[in-house]
């Protein structure tokens, strides 16, 4: 965190000053470790074993927060009897189909006949296979029937007992064996965690892509969630699980998504079901309980914001104008489609996939096979120049004359040159004002897309009479789109303030709305993103508020604005006990004021303020009214924190340790080496390596993990061109231990070449005691740290770490595994030209790599074609760009 979030880290230092104990868990000793009270080195890719060990410690020792667990989590809920655990099936859950899971056996007992499941069945009927049913989040799974519970937590199939059994083998010995963490240190962490949780104290977890960039990444977060729920650390001040996002406003770009399968505010993008109506869409996506019950209000307001007066009740508010998903349109699939000639044009805005995305060679192959490519960036990044100086040109694989892609490079304005907001990891919107005018041809993204839209609209309008009826119908969503932002200045810059106001939403009279509870499904309200409703309440840009800390309460509600409803801690109902009183004076946050008959406290209560703690819903209640007064997790279908996730995940209801896609070690926990549901793309440019006990695994004996430095930013597009940053970290390097240096004859500051089945890169050697060999599974394991900031352009240049990585994805969110891989390393620079290919071919041959390597099953009878494009599962792919 000190490395990639130095500014946010000031609060960790502040906490430390006040006596907080800082524990840092990381394969590498980083600047964060230097500041921590305890540093816990572990093997990259083994975190679930570590977290599982902590969960087991809490459960076995009875250290969980009993009242919290009993009242606020689904510990008491009984799971369907058809459920079987990985502990029973040697590493897979019930419902495994060979490439993915049929999730129905994971449901709650009694909730299976739940109409919510019926809705799912409806999806299944439409789309054929359960794995097509992408639940973007747990919130979607709705059910009307109440599942069976056992408040005594003793029923053998209640979540609590399942949890206990599932994690029983995650002992300190196992943690030592799998993670390389000695038992003494493990106990130190476990005891600190327990001692700092409960009524009087809370513990927070902060993580970044070290937890998410794995083929089982979502389950890493699930494991932390289970631990925090057991300890009562969710919804309480000083608690939580904090995602440290990869760069400014990445949170904003999921709230108002740049993801293909989401609409603003986490509304799912509709699928291409024939004649899908708004009613059907709402019926299949609304929840019966909680705030997703009002999804129709959100969708209609969004359609009204986009198509204004064209959207009426009669025409389903132009629901038909929304695009429909026909399959996977994620970044990795899109690139494969480029290589296969199915994608002709590509916009790359503020991203550098030519060096910044896993298997960068594959990315460039796609770029080289386009008709046109638009790159908007601050600097002349590699994605705009791959055709001229990419590694394939350097190695003689291809030449500029053979690449037909027409590249348009458009210089972009930096954040200091435009108005707008950043949404940070706390869901807080903070406005930034333009400090200087952009130079020359530099323009803001807002300017670019606004004027591009104007031009497309006018071109379509001008050709109206040349177009046939079908084409005209296709043009309508664009022609009817609300596109009326006021502009200012010589450049006709659209007003970012007006855009924020549109996102906030307006009522029938055109006044800014104050809260998403005011949204209506009758077409009288408009809102570009329902969760942002209120940021412009009272016609005030609340994101621009900068009331100094000393002039307001410690929660600082007057600084910026947090969605939803300027609430600073989500689910903060859990900060009070079931009766509504604070768990302790020290940790009081929101509470029920019995005299006033309302919820009050330091923050905006995350509960209907007038709903008493003893509220019991009527049988026919719907939406938020269907939640009890004790249900804190108001977006969940059952209002509870999920220790066990009966739906929403594609690789199991509980986290289980699997080895990374490529690992030198065998999975000794069970026979299933890797996450059986992960997504693979067996392609010539994306060969996988053997792992564990498979023959050839010894060719890649070292674990590597990619990382970021404070001095640079992501793939370097914003830092390698800046002299004052370039000089601080002026060369690509790899970090390794003195012991590995001896083993491989590597010299400090000399060159080393790192090799995987995809590529070989070179870097200077930094020998450092900060990297230490670990004992894992009975052998000494060396880890190598590889920063991924470099590429061929800019003031400091070097090879890109992404040349090494494969594309193997987490099945739920489809993120690639950048944080744990296997490689070989040797002294000297990498060869050039054909010699480089020869080197990689030699390694592939030595490891016996074929098109089937890295898969779990023996090759299917007809196998995949050598240039096959089919992933072993088919599903939507989102994310995958840089670090998010």
């Amino acid at each position: 965190m000190a490395e990639a979030h130095p500014v946010g880290f000031q609060w960790v230092m502040e906490a430390k000053r006040r006596g907080a104990k800082i524990i840092h868990v990381d394969p590498r000793f980083t600047r964060t470790s230097a500041m921590a009270d305890t540093f816990v080195p572990l093997r990259a890719g083994s975190d679930i074993a570590f977290l599982g060990g902590l969960i087991n410690h809490v459960l076995r020792g009875g250290h969980y927060f009993h009242e919290y667990v009993a009242a606020y989590t689904n510990a008491a809920t009984i799971v369907d009897e058809s459920f079987a655990d990985t502990e029973d099936l040697d590493g897979v859950f019930s419902g495994f189909t060979g490439s993915g899971y049929d999730e129905t056996s994971w449901y709650y007992q009694g909730a299976r006949v739940n109409p919510a499941a019926g809705e799912r069945d409806q999806w299944h009927d439409v789309f054929g296979s359960p794995e097509h049913d992408r639940a973007t989040s747990e919130e979607e799974s709705a059910r009307r029937a109440e599942p069976e519970t056992d408040p005594s937590l003793t029923h053998p199939r209640c979540v609590f007992q399942i949890l206990k059994r599932h994690f029983a083998r995650y002992t300190p010995e196992l943690v030592e064996q799998l993670c390389g963490i000695d038992q003494e240190r493990f106990h130190e962490v476990a005891e600190a965690l327990v001692a700092n949780s409960g009524r009087e104290r809370t513990t927070a977890f902060a993580y970044a892509v070290g937890w998410t960039h794995h083929t089982v990444g979502v389950q890493y977060i699930r494991a932390a969630s289970i631990l925090q729920l057991l300890l009562g650390n969710i919804g309480r001040p000083g608690g939580g699980i904090l995602a440290l996002r990869g760069h400014a406003s990445i949170q904003g770009s999921t709230d108002i998504p740049t993801l293909f399968d989401l609409l603003p505010g986490y509304i799912p993008m509709p699928r291409a079901h024939p004649n899908l109506s708004l009613d059907e869409f709402v019926a299949t996506n609304a929840a019966d309980k909680g705030y997703w019950g009002n999804i129709r209000d959100y969708v209609v307001s969004l359609l009204k914001a986009w198509w204004g007066e064209y959207a009426t009740a009669e025409n389903d508010f132009r629901f038909d104008h929304l695009p429909r998903l026909t399959g996977d349109h994620g970044t990795f699939q899109t690139v494969i489609d480029q290589i296969e000639g199915r994608v002709r044009g590509y916009f790359v805005v503020g991203e550098n996939p030519a060096v910044g995305t896993a298997n960068a060679h594959q990315q460039r192959m796609g770029l080289a096979n386009l008709d046109w490519l638009v790159v908007r960036d601050l600097n002349m990044i590699e994605t705009a120049t791959f055709w001229r100086n990419g590694p394939e040109i350097e190695n003689g694989e291809t030449s500029p004359s053979e690449i037909g892609t027409e590249v348009f490079f458009l210089p972009a304005a930096a954040h200091t040159e435009k108005d707008g907001t950043f949404t940070n990891t706390q869901r807080m919107l903070q406005w930034h004002h333009k400090a200087v005018e952009p130079l020359d041809d530099q323009r803001s993204d807002l300017w670019f897309f606004y004027h591009l839209g104007l031009r497309i609209k006018s071109k379509l309008a001008a050709r109206r009479f040349e177009r046939d009826a079908r084409q005209r119908e296709r043009d309508r969503p664009v022609l009817e789109l609300t596109w009326d932002y006021p502009t200012e200045g010589d450049l006709a810059e659209p007003s970012a303030d007006a855009v924020l106001r549109e996102i906030n939403g307006t009522d029938a009279e055109g006044r800014a709305l104050s809260s998403y509870t005011r949204l209506r499904s009758d077409g009288s309200t408009r809102a570009g993103c329902w969760i942002y409703c209120g940021v412009y309440a009272g016609e005030i840009n609340r994101a621009a508020r900068r009331e100094p800390g000393e002039q307001q309460s410690w929660v600082a509600p007057e600084w910026g604005w947090s969605w939803p409803a300027n609430r600073r801690i989500l689910y903060n109902r859990a900060a009070a006990d079931p009766a509504g009183a604070p768990w302790s004076e020290r940790k009081a946050y929101v509470w029920w004021d019995a005299e006033q008959r309302r919820w009050t406290g330091h923050d905006v209560p995350d509960v209907d303020v007038a709903k008493p703690p003893d509220y019991e819903p009527a049988a026919d209640a719907h939406g938020p009214d269907a939640l009890r007064g004790t249900d804190p997790f108001i977006m969940q279908g059952d209002g509870l924190g999920w220790l066990y996730a009966p739906a929403g995940l594609h690789d199991g209801p509980l986290p289980t340790h699997y080895e990374p896609q490529e690992s030198p070690l065998r999975n000794t926990l069970h026979a299933t080496q890797r996450n059986p549901a992960r997504r693979l793309y067996h392609r010539p440019e994306n060969r996988y390596q053997p792992s564990g006990a498979e023959p050839g695994a010894e060719v890649f004996p070292y674990v590597f993990t990619t990382f970021r430095l404070t001095e640079h930013h992501t793939a370097g597009g914003m830092s390698r061109w800046l002299p004052h940053l370039a000089e601080l970290a002026p060369a690509m390097f790899v970090e390794l231990s003195p012991e590995l240096a001896v083993e491989r004859g590597l010299r400090h500051l000399g060159w080393a070449t790192v090799i995987t089945a995809r590529g070989a890169i070179e870097g200077r050697v930094l020998v450092t005691p900060r990297i230490r060999p670990l004992r894992s599974n009975g052998r000494t394991l060396h880890q190598i740290g590889i920063p991924w900031h470099w590429g061929p352009n800019g003031l400091t240049t070097g090879d890109a770490a992404n040349e090494l990585l494969n594309v193997a994805l987490d099945p739920t969110v489809h993120i690639m595994e950048t944080k744990a891989g296997a490689c070989d390393i040797r002294p000297g620079r990498r060869p050039r030209g054909v010699e480089l290919h020869r080197l990689i071919a030699t390694y592939r041959a030595r490891a016996g790599i074929t098109e089937h390597t890295g898969g779990d099953a023996p090759p299917p009878d007809n196998g995949l074609p050598e240039n096959g494009t089919r992933p072993s599962g088919t599903d939507t792919v989102d994310g995958g760009e840089d670090e998010s």
């Binding site: 430095l709 001095e711 002299p723 004052h724 450092t768 005691p769």
Partner: protein, 336 residues
Amino acid sequence: MSPDRPSEHPLFELERSMRTGEHARETAPEPAVGSSNGNRLSGPLADPSAEAGYSEQHPDRMGFFTDTSVCIGCKACEVACKEWNLLEEDGLELTGMSYDNTTDLGATTWRHVAFVEQRIDLSTRARVDIGMPGMGPPETATEEVAGSEVRWLMSSDVCKHCTHAACLDVCPTGALIRSEYGTVVVQDDVCNGCGYCVPACPYGVIDIHPENGGAFKCTLCQDRLGSGMTPACATACPTESIQYGPLDQLRERAEQRLEQLHEQGITEARLYGQDPTDGVGGDGAFFLLLDEPEVYGLPPDPVVTTRDLPAMACYALAAAATAAVTIASCFLGGRR
């Protein structure tokens, strides 16, 4: 020093203070001017600005307290300094000195973050600096390594703005001056690049710019102080490792912090450069360190070279006289 006090001749003030007995209270902590050896070249000095001739209304002496125990090595100070002071990039070379690729302070680097990697023996708590690793077996056997921990020290270095600044003393042109804030500043339009300040500085801070020939160093952002702004580095520092303020307050704060760390068992914490009785009369920019100063590239006990100037002048005069007498004696006797 008290900026609110009405302006009056120091003699009147002295007279009044003797009358009212305020004297003891106001100047008690430090002798006013000069030192035991009777010159003004070393020793404690309460108010360098007044000594330099500023009137009573001059502002408080300002400085930095750099608390390295909370430095996270982000180098934001280096970048902010270079951005504000328009200092150019000065080399794209990987040094291999941990994450320090800046190496030292100089004409175009006025803040420098040092990185020190150490191995600490858990049984003895002895520290082993790693220095520049080479190839070959690690210096300690594996078993020993297992019983050790890694410590990574980071520290942002800067010009010390000494109470007795050798650079200022030896500058022949008067380009180096004491500012009204008690800091030491180079006047670029006066400096003729003689380079005398460079070896005079006991901390190795000031240097000659290789291209334009002038001497440069930290100005404590003199051009920001006038408008009430904080120096760029302290503004950028996310963890308040670099604290800026009136030196008196900073010294107090530093003592408190030291006490706090000692209470927490971090006995190796120590202050560096805060003592007005040290060889340079105390630094305007001082530090809290977690190891010996030399580990961070700081001199353990620097002394302003001009402390010895009177003595040196005597030696030189004696030697000059010796030369004259020697020559004269050669002219005695006959014309051989």
